[in-house]
Amino acid sequence: MKKSILLLIISKVLLGQTEPLTDLMHVNPRVFVLKNAVVHVEPGQTLPSATVAIRDGLIVAVGSSIDIPGDAAIVDMKGDHIYAGFIDAWADVEPKDLKPSPRSHWIDLVHPEWVASDSYTPDDKTVKERKKLGFTHIHAGLNKGIFRGQTSLIDLDESASITTSTVSQSLDFYTRERGEDGYPGALLGTIAVMRQTLLDADWYEKSQSIYARHPDKNEQPKEDLALATLAMARSKAIPFLFRTAHETAAQRAIDISHEFDLNLWLLGSGYEYRRLTDIAQAKPFIILPLNFPGKPDVTQPQRADQYITEQLKHWDMAPDNARKLVNSGVDIAFTSNGLQDLKQFRKNLSLAIERGLSETAALAALTTTPSKHFGLVKTHGKIKAGYQANFVVVRGSYFDDSNPVQSVWIRGVKHDIDINFNDEFAGEWKFSLDKMQGELTIKSSPYHTAGKIKLDTTTISLNHLKLDGKQISWSAELPKTETPQMIRFQGNWDNGMLSGVAVFADGQEHEWTASSRTADDAETEAPKATTSKLKLSFPEGAFGFEQLPQQPASLFINDATLWTSGPQGIIQNCDMLIEKGKIKKIGKNLTSSRGAQVIEADGKYVTPGLIDSHSHTAGASINEGSQSITSEVRIQDVLDPDDISIYRELAGGLTTIQVLHGSANTIGGQNSVIKLRWGSNAQDLIMKRAPQGLKFALGENVKQSNWGDKNVTRYPQTRMGVEQVLRDAFTRARDYKSNLDNYAKKSKWRKTLTPPRRDLELDPLVEVLEGTRRVHVHSYRQDEILMMLRVAENFGFTVTNMEHVLEGYKVADQMARHGAGAATFSDWWAYKFEVYDAIPYNAVLMQNAGVLVSFKSDSDELARRMNLEAAKGIKYGGMTEIEALNTVTINPARQLKIDKWVGSLEVGKDADFVIWSHHPLSTQAKCEQTWVDGKLYFSLGQNAELLAQDKQIRSDIIQKILKTKDEDRPGASPDPGNHKYQQPYRDDQAWEGGVR
């Protein structure tokens, strides 16, 4: 108690006190000389026996022979290692007493003005635990919201001195809890909010500066602390730190940082190794947790089945992550954040080092790297003259986790660590008491302490075993005493020996001793961990590729029945030559080019790769349903390249899909047309040549008809209201556009008037009005279909596609006249009231009226057999075979305006094709190979290999897990129920997954 008061006062004096003394002046000289220590000056530079002189919190000299100041207290530190104080590069802080004010942002999750150090209150226990790990500073950040506020660097001294209050702006891809109202309501909206807010900050700054100059010509812009803070951060190039839960989130952060030219930091996930190249290329500074997963519960085979392969692999591969990042040139700093138990930090750090991370790199990640990025390059992170006297003192090397940290020094003040000797006691000892000789075994873990004594053949377990600092005590009944009695033992650890007294029932004290026998016991020698032997696959988990598919320079399909979906129709015994991923020649009896890879396809059928014009596959977030209009959200921001549905759909011959926003609101979000390039990253999935589109929705979903009785207040609740929402949106977009144009035209305005705000919600609507963005409208009933056509006609644009459009057959003539296409279910009906009149003859009736028709899935399951959906066009209404296949090839390609490149087998087009075992519209047709861009992404043979490989990998890891002791891999086991691949089965009917 006394000590802490004293230290508190010291730090105040040290900071330059502005407040008056409450009693008398305290003086505690802070001049020390630390002698004979192993001094780690900086990573890679160690002085084996050196002296460090410090004065008033600063290092004044370091070296093997330095002048010793006469007023210094000299401390002999022989046997100790001194490191610069470690920085725990992340600590979560709960916001405290922060309430919205009139100057707050309108979204409750946007508060960049908050400062972590304002909310930080040191918690004795965690401060103590952190110091025990050698940390002298923490980098603290708030843990609420999307724009979470400014991070701060705080000392771990008693007064929690602030080194820097604003280190970075921290952001999180936060989404609200299920059932919580408010915008944004999904990851889609979260990213849109990030982008809009960053734009708003720029706009805000401009507006304010113009207003300051021309207050007579402008209305005063509303003051907004959030935007002002962000504008300031942007102008000062403050880093933006994104908290990431997995490697895909890291990639999303990278995309945003590129768009806004941000200095990117990541609070890492530990999964970075999976997309190492992409992440390393962006050169972010990564704050890396060392929370390696504990052992999955694989003790029962059926439980092991609950874990997906990537979880099992991560268990083995996670400790290699730090080394891989460092070797790729990424700057990392370590944090204890995310650990279930802080004690695991050093254990996991040792494991990372055993896996090949150099001690130099590890030390840098604790000292110089964070200090460099945190702007403390001249004051923190090294033991050099002029640096702050922040030290970690360890008895031996820090990187042997059995060596305890003795003390940390913060600003020249020593903080002793209460050393727990449990680890010293643990092990086997030769025990003797009087004439008795035996073996004493003590097991100690943070959770459990137990011991036993073996005398000859008898084993006695120790009762009431207690370890307290260097003291040990227990009681036991030993067999060789004359009368059975409990004997109380008490003793001390001293330099590798135990000794003490045994108190017998009669009160007599006998001496006992024990010496360690660990040294001569080879059994306890744990095998050294080696780096994981597992190979990465893309994406991680079953069916990922260890090597991405390669494009043969030249590929020759020999003697197939070609269903071209083009002008050539169906050609028997036809060859196809492919070069560099494009179709070069189609015809009979072609000659293969030299060195071409030849596929003998006699008896096989080849069709274009199938296209699904309405899908939600690979969307990590589908509905931003919180508002009626959310055209600002973009599917491209939330693509999940690891969605297993991509692979499963390839196995059904699908190669291109349009990923659409859901149908929870009238104007949903921006679409993404992707090719199923399994294994690539999110950006490379996108078919960048495809024109942009926007999803609209009408009817029951947008008026929340099936959402239960609580959802009855959002406008619109009727089809009448849906129309007006549309009209209002397009009217606003028109006004917005004319504002932007006028402002851009008049240079005088630009100098004196505040600029119109760029609105990400209205931008895509303007593009619709201008005809550069395609319109896809979820619709069912004829009345709403007609209404949409009329609204579009009034505003002068064309609807590209009606989606679902199950009553399209009732107004097909109007659709044809308007020029709208139809992407429809083949035969779904009766799952809700608005589809009671749905009929499978819909496609044929529309097609006969001149509408361009495609069949689409809207379902990860259906998407695996689109050729059979096409066959229903023949069954219901009698399409020709060619027409039927076209509904899933060239027709959707034309609807998406990508028919220049895909959708048919024609010279010059992308080599996206499928090889079928049978007539492609037969139920017996099996997709044997699927090629995208002239690369083989699926084949039956390869699938069998991948399946066998996965079985082998799982079996190998399970063996390794079973052989690993619990204490060698502590930590929380992964949660098999919660991983990003788990997605609900999706269709318009499945309310669980929301409205599609």
């Binding site: 609950q306 997906i308 279930q340 499963r648 009766a830 799952y831 695996r864 023949i874 519209l921 949660d975």
Partner: protein, 437 residues
């Protein structure tokens, strides 16, 4: 040519059809001449005639002599099949799954063994004609929800009332086997050991229930005349005695395994429904002679690392291992309107290793056997129900068109809501063309 013919057939049937009218009982013998007979029980017989009278098949032969009273239908080049059978469905118990007022398959309470499906089967459901338009002539309709949702009934896809339409009741008592998986999330609210205890308890609850039923039965046999009655217990007696089967809905391997072991211990007759993981337990299922009703092959693999074709090839795995099974669509409210896709589920199984004739059997005779009516329906055999249909081509191909169905010998109205709306709007576009002209 074929297509024109079938279109003609459809059109002619519309001329009189508005809403579909249930057929009158068969009044004259009907002879179907010269079709390709898929008998299921004894192979394919090309060019044979089939005669049925008073609802039963009376003769299958070449060149059956005709009489004046016979109605003669030529099926030359056409395919003849026994009516297809869906083993599990909510058909008729729901009209529109998003409209609560139309849902009648889930009674309140965890245990409602007393309820029987056929009484709430709506014979005027629009789904019924749509379903039989694709050759599915029998559907086992099943209550859903809770531990014991009730008793199922096998319905014919025609009839004025639910009583007319009931072919067999009850087919089974249904049990939704309790979840046997363990939440391994380290942050799970309930500890693993506690979850294991709860899991044991759930099975014990079932044991206790059976025990109670047995004691109840004893008490009713007792001397006391005023023993109180309990409809739930009454309903369970024939199942607990092993006279009738429990249909146990179980998807995950631990559920299937537990259900099988429980049925053996309790000496019950059971059928596994769902059976997603049944392929992992073929040894146990075969040895215990427990059949499986596969709830659809057209569904997603159960785990991320499952083969993409897992559900397609499940029937072949069971077949190769010698486990009895049939293929059904699933019993959800959503799928009630999609029972017509039943042959597509079997066809997919055939594409992934199940012999074609076994695929056909899995939606006809095998289903009939599992539902306890193998002696009445499921194959083209003399003495069996004349519930059959004529198809333009192989029914396992999507492009096939069912031209005429017969249920219990009666000629079924082949129109349906979809065909009627098709016709109505063809008329619209005809009118528009006339205006243009």
């Amino acid at each position: 040519m074929k297509r024109i013919l079938c279109l003609y057939l459809i059109l002619t049937s519309w001329i009189w059809a508005s809403d579909q009218i249930p057929a009158a009982p068969q009044s004259q013998p009907i002879l179907i001449k010269g079709g390709i007979l898929h008998t299921v029980s004894h192979g394919v017989m090309d060019g044979y005639d089939l005669l049925f009278e008073k609802g039963k098949i009376t003769r299958i032969d070449k060149n059956i002599p005709t009489t004046n009273e016979m109605e003669i239908i030529s099926a030359s080049g056409k395919h003849l099949y026994p009516g297809l059978i869906a083993g599990i469905s909510a058909l008729g118990l729901v009209e529109i799954s998003a409209v609560r007022a139309t849902i009648d398959y889930d009674e309140v309470g965890d245990m409602t063994p007393e309820v029987r499906a056929n009484v709430s089967y709506n014979p005027d459901s629009e789904s019924i004609p749509v379903t039989r338009s694709n050759g599915v002539l029998f559907v086992n309709v099943v209550p859903r929800g809770g531990l014991i949702p009730g008793q199922s009934s096998l319905m014919m896809m025609d009839g004025w009332t639910w009583e007319d339409a009931t072919l067999h009741h009850p087919t089974a008592m249904h049990i939704n086997w309790p979840d046997m998986s363990i939440d391994l999330n380290p942050k799970a609210k309930v500890k693993v050991s506690e979850q294991e205890a709860q899991r044991r308890q759930r099975v014990k609850d079932l044991d206790d229930l059976l025990d109670q039923v047995r004691r109840y039965e004893m008490s009713q046999k007792g001397t006391s005349k005023d023993a109180a009655h309990d409809l739930r217990m009454e309903a369970l007696i024939p199942y607990v005695n092993g006279e009738k089967p429990f249909f146990i809905h179980a998807w995950e391997s631990r559920q299937i395994e537990a259900a099988v072991r429980w049925s053996k211990k309790q000496q019950l007759k059971i059928v596994i429904v769902g059976g997603g993981d049944a392929g992992e337990l073929t040894g146990l299922l075969k040895e215990s002679q427990i059949p499986v009703i596969i709830e659809g092959t057209l569904r997603l693999p159960r785990r991320r690392n499952s083969n993409y074709s897992e559900s397609y090839s499940l029937p072949a795995r069971l077949y190769e291992a010698g486990v009895d099974f049939c293929i059904s669509t699933d019993g959800s409210g959503f799928a009630a309107a999609q029972v017509r896709d039943l042959p597509n589920h079997a066809a997919m199984a055939a594409a992934f290793g199940l012999p074609l004739e076994v695929a056909l059997r899995s939606i006809t005779l095998s289903a009939a056997e599992i539902l306890g009516v193998g002696d009445r329906i499921g194959s083209l055999d003399v003495g069996k129900e004349a519930s059959l249909f004529i198809s333009s081509e192989d029914i396992l191909e999507i492009t096939s068109i069912v031209e005429q169905a017969f249920i219990h010998g009666t000629k079924t109205d082949m129109s349906d809501r979809h065909k009627n709306l098709y016709k109505k709007y063809q008329e619209k576009y005809k009118q528009l063309e006339n205006i243009k002209d």
